[in-house]
């Protein structure tokens, strides 16, 4: 497939998809999915979706942009796109990422080192559409033509492009075919960042045109700013749910504890991804137990948005990102805590601890930490007794991109699993060279149309290959295996992908967080905290 699709085809006037993937095209997987016949068939996009929405890119549709009804409407959308494109290169509007964007626009040499690093490109069978530079090449041509106002000489230097609505519509979809894992940027000899280009495109569409996937905008950041959490939980509901979790965890472990709420002056304000409370209650339960047993002075906050660490704006919208980050630190300031500790959520850690660092001044600049150093220090301190034999099953560790490559938190989690999991094995490659789970940048919560099929067949395929290889010698159903994913979005992706390929039923491949492994190995709690029950 490589090299067959031309950049200019993005502007094709017909609404037919530019490419179509068959399972035979995809990167092969190891056992038990070795063979095209063992792969799942794709669900096709419905005729209704095709007729109603702009689905002219590939086999799926992530954003559901309604088809314009008139030529005039198309023209207006193109004008708005151009206006947004100019704003991306203007410091009043985009001071947030202007410098890295300019560097990427103006200096790519086309060496394709990035392509060798991209899991989506590789998994797709090296399809040209998913080459990291394909999207960037389109934006670069638009930049030189419409922002720098280049003429013929510029076209000779940078290439030609025709701007029309079908192109913009395809570009909207193409912005959501990248996990923003930035493995490509890490490999670029110049320092160009194709992941950033996808990020900036998403921003353009959201900030200027009001276009973003419903799951991350309307049901995501907007709901968080309205109800307090993208799960829809209000403060009362979340407190009720956590009280139930405390009770259940106390019963299961034999150690009673209660999550403290709104404690002024506590050392730690713990912020979970609220999805954990809904989907994986054992995770906040394990956190509560560990912190209580370690004697940490901690609290949770019931302020709006402060009991949900997620910050989807990181993926698509600077304004939404800043608003949620501000809510988190305002809650900490109000309580007078010494620090915020973000739980098992990769993008929340990266967003609040790293990216937001240059948004917060004065007393809003509350210290913010990833939970892993605290957990590592608790585990290795000797305050809690552990029996590693309780974790004597094969364990591998997934590295969430946001915590590892994008934040540099690599060793604390390894010190924990090395101490508590006798059968721990690494995936290859791992650490800062890891591969994304395929759910990054919001994909884990996006399943509209048949997007999940693309997410598992393409975006998650490389990671699935890694996981299957890590458990290669024990892949059979006789051995239960634990895929440790210390990030809610990654867990969501693994839950759905393992289900999709039926790997729990057939191969006893289980997934979960890190704190669950820690509690499971505590010598003073009832055995069997990890119950090996699929959820």
């Amino acid at each position: 497939m490589s090299g067959t699709l031309k950049v200019r085809e993005i502007s094709r006037q017909d609404r037919e998809p530019l490419i179509h993937l068959e399972n035979e095209d995809l990167m092969p997987l190891p056992a038990p999915l070795d063979g095209v016949e063992k792969d799942r068939a794709w669900t096709m996009l419905t005729e209704q979706s095709r007729s109603r929405y702009e689905c002219g890119l590939d086999d799926t549709c992530a954003v559901n942009v309604p088809k314009p009804k008139t030529a005039e409407e198309e023209k207006q959308l193109v004008v708005r796109f151009l206006s947004g494109l100019e704003k991306l290169f203007d410091k009043e509007n985009n001071w947030t990422f202007l410098q890295p964007l300019l560097l990427t626009m103006e200096h790519c040499t086309g060496c394709q080192t990035c392509a060798e690093s991209c899991h989506i490109f590789e998994a797709s069978g090296r399809n040209e559409l998913y080459r990291p530079t394909f999207r960037t090449e389109i934006v670069r041509r638009l930049y030189f033509k419409h922002v720098k106002r280049g003429g013929l000489l510029s076209a000779w230097q940078h290439g030609k492009i025709e701007l029309n609505w079908p192109m913009v519509a395809r570009l909207i979809e193409l912005a959501y075919r990248c996990n923003l894992c930035r493995r490509c940027a890490q490999s670029c000899p110049i320092g160009c960042d194709n992941g950033l280009v996808a990020h900036e495109l998403r921003k353009l569409f959201s900030l200027e045109m009001g276009i973003a996937p419903k799951e991350i905008h309307e049901n995501g950041s907007m709901l968080q700013l309205k109800a307090g959490s993208s799960t829809g939980m209000t403060a009362e509901i979340v407190k009720d749910n956590v009280a139930f979790i405390d009770e259940d965890t106390s019963e299961r472990t034999g150690i009673e504890f209660h999550t403290p709420w709104d404690v002024k002056g506590a050392d730690v304000l713990l912020v979970h991804n609220a999805g954990e409370i809904m989907a994986w209650p054992e995770n906040p339960g394990a956190f509560g137990l560990i912190l209580t047993m370690a004697g940490v002075s901690w609290t949770m906050s019931s302020e709006l948005a402060a009991y949900d660490a997620i910050n989807y704006g990181l993926w698509y919208d600077d304004a939404q990102f800043a608003r949620v980050a501000l809510k988190h630190v305002e809650a900490a300031k109000k309580l007078g805590v010494k620090r915020i500790v973000v739980g098992e959520c990769g993008h929340a850690n990266k967003g609040l601890c790293v990216v937001a660092d240059r948004l917060l001044t004065g007393d809003l600049n509350v210290p913010r930490e990833n939970y892993l150093p605290l957990l590592r220090d608790v585990v290795l301190s000797g305050k809690i007794k552990f029996d590693a034999e309780r974790n004597d099953f094969p364990v591998t560790l997934h590295d969430p991109c946001n915590m590892v490559r994008l934040m540099g938190v690599v060793e604390p989690q390894r010190e924990i699993v090395r101490a508590l999991c006798p059968q721990f094995r690494e995936m290859e490659p791992h650490g800062v060279n890891n591969y994304c789970c395929g759910g990054g940048s919001g994909f884990a919560i996006m399943s509209g149309n048949n997007f999940a099929d693309w997410r598992f067949h393409v975006a998650g395929r490389k990671k699935l290959e890694q996981v299957l290889r890590a458990f290669g010698e024990c892949i059979g159903p006789e051995t239960p295996k634990y895929l440790c994913a210390p990030c809610s979005n990654c867990k969501g992706q693994f839950r759905d992908m393992i289900s999709y390929y039926n790997l729990w039923e057939k191969n006893r491949l289980f997934y979960g967080g890190l704190v669950e492994l820690v509690v499971n190995a505590m010598a003073d709690v009832k055995p069997g905290f990890i119950d090996w029950e699929w959820r």
């Binding site: 490589s2 090299g3 067959t4 950049v7 708005r80 947004g84 704003k87 410091k91 009043e92 509007n93 001071w95 947030t96 990422f97 202007l98 410098q99 890295p100 300019l102 560097l103 990427t104 200096h107 086309g110 060496c111 080192t113 060798e116 090449e137 890490q186 490999s187 000899p189 110049i190 320092g191 959201s206 200027e208 045109m209 009001g210 905008h217 907007m222 700013l225 304004a319 939404q320 800043a322 608003r323 501000l326 790293v354 990216v355 660092d357 240059r358 948004l359 001044t361 004065g362 600049n365 210290p367 150093p373 220090d377 934040m407 540099g408 938190v409 690599v410 060793e411 800062v432 060279n433």
Partner: protein, 303 residues
Amino acid sequence: MTVAAYIAIYAGVLIFLAGCARRVWQYARTPLHLRWELYPVPHEGPYRAAYGGSYFEAQGWWRTPQTRDRWHEWRVMAEEILLLKSLRELNRRLWAPSFAFHFGLYVAIAAAGMGTAAGAVRGELASGLATAAGAAGSTGCVMVVAGACWLLARRLRDPGTRNSTHAADIFNLMVFIAVFGMLACGYLARGAATASLGEFARGVIHFDRGVPVGTGFGAGVILASALAAYIPFTHMAHFIAKYFAWHSVRWDDRRNVRGGAMEAEIAANLGRRPTWAAQHVGADGERSWADVASANPVQEARK
């Protein structure tokens, strides 16, 4: 030919420096952006950088001042600049031609430096430097030509590069082949009556119109000067971009310390007035970023 070559060198060097300065200025004056680093970050020191760790791996990192191992950072930079380390590790097929091309350029630039030094001094040192410059220049030119031919062949044959190869990319590589080929051939095949490299360099420094310059070498010098003047206006100025992309983005893990110097820059950014048009942003060109960030679009819609 002599005067034309001199003027070309003066103009080429001036335009090159002005073009580079303009590009540096363009990137240096962009506002402080949000943190967007990628690990490993080498100034974390050899132990942490080896696996990509950061100061975030310790509790209470904010209680102690940030330290930077500049020595390790320089070591990583030297390996990257001289040996193209990341390319060697991640794109081995491209590394050999790219290394030949870039290292050839370094050697040729060093030769030009030695030639200039030979023109500025007298006696045995001058002749020694001129001889070394001639040898280094010839070696550099051969490496550049070989590397550029190899890169050109790859561009033309590899379907993976097709979408990101433009007419200018082919032209640029061909110009390198022509310029450095002409410089090497012109110098090595010069007549006995024409100036040596040291004499030519001295002539350039003193604008000595009486120095006889061979036609081939002179044409090579004029073309090389034109190429130098052209580079800052193309993506070939990536040596400038790389400095910013690595130091100001990829490795920029500077903390915003409460009450520190960075706060003023952040405050200035938060005072900027966006005009993004989507309704939920609530920007109108009057409200600042701080106003936008403090607003809750849901509550504002209720009003």
